[in-house]
Amino acid sequence: MREAEERGFREFAVSHAASLRRTAYLFCGDWHMAEDLMQASLLKLYQAWHRIEWRDTASGYARKVLLRTWLDEKRRPWRRAERRDGELPDVADATADPEREGERLWARDLVHAALLRVPPRQRAALVLRYFEDLSVSEVAVAMGCTEGTVKSQTARGLVALRAAVEELERGAVVAS
């Protein structure tokens, strides 16, 4: 890779690493794995960086690579059985209002926990549409499918997410 290209890739990687990791976290629900996915995606991106046709839309291409890397990772047999219940905070935040903070944490965990119950491609559609704020056509490019598929996946994902949220809320009420 020429020096100018490498400089361009370095700038891109530094500016997009954090956002790619956040998206990866919403996909997989684990920060460590999100970091691995981000690194793996950037490695793949480096190998293809000399192809200039998509250079103008590098962030879109990076999202596509990230999504495929995650889906490939999920297909691996040793990943199928993995289940996580979230992480406990190590240190209490003394400045936060305990009541409001509790509600915030509850809402955050509720959405995230419910999101992890949505099937992978529907989850990806939801994250790309409502977290990345991409248009339907952009999501279709990232997912490698038609816009109609994106709409149906998004609609089904929303239904599945709402059902999961209700189920989690019912479980929480029963438990309390």
């Binding site: 490498e6 890739f9 370095r10 990687a13 530094v14 690493a17 954090a18 990791r21 956040r22 976290y25 919403l26 920060w31 970091e35 690194q39 950037l42 490695l43 480096y46 190998q47 905070p89 915030r104 809402a107 955050r108 965990d109 509720l110 959405v111 995230h112 999101l115 939801l126 994250v127 409502y130 977290f131 929303l158 997410l161 709402r162 949220v165």
Partner: protein
Amino acid sequence: MSEADLREGLRAAVGDEPPLNFDPDELIRRAQHERKRRRAFVAVAVVTLALTGTVLSLPGALDRRAVVDAAGGPVLTTTASPAPTSRPEAASLPATAPPPPSATRSTTGGVASFVSGYLTSRFPEVVPGSKVTAVEVSEVSAEQPAHISAVVRFVDGVGESGLVVRVTAPSARPPFDRFCDEFECDDPQRWNDGTRLVSGTTADQTSVVVSRAVAHLRADGAVVQVTAYRYDLGAGSKLPEVALTVDQLVRLATDPNLAVP
């Protein structure tokens, strides 16, 4: 849950993001290492495939050399330089064979070396416009009758082909029996010097001649057999006709320099 709630929930979900320890230099180093590793893997794969292909194709190529008897003695191969452009018409017969080159014929290796060198220089004289690319000589002295086989590979204006020269020492067996078992023989000719000559051909199922041979029974009982083919001995590709004429085969078969010492 509305779409707005979902957006807010997703933003909140990444709110406790741990610090990012991202080192682009390390990433680029890993990527470059990965690229090198991949290229090395591809190179190894290509070499392996090439070797496998060579190993698998060699037996097929060697099987076509059924006429060559390499059961015993040493094999000598010489290689000549590239080829000429046009195939000659039938050569005119020389009055006499040229004197042999100055190689020793006293030892086993010396005979192989002599035959190889002699055929390399003599063949283009008999078949003008041709170029010898390799000569493989096999000596079988442990069996009776002792014999020498030489495979001459050459190129002419038509393409690559080969010639097999077999020089057999005198033996008790009737001299042309083996020859006529292998080829469709003509009537033997008796020459004034007391030697005898017979020619023959083999044909495929459609009666197309695929090989032509001449055997010369010398006065001392030795037999020199020269066989030309309608295909390339190495690759097996077909030629429009057998590469040498009967006259050219006769000139080689009667060459007094080709003999078992």
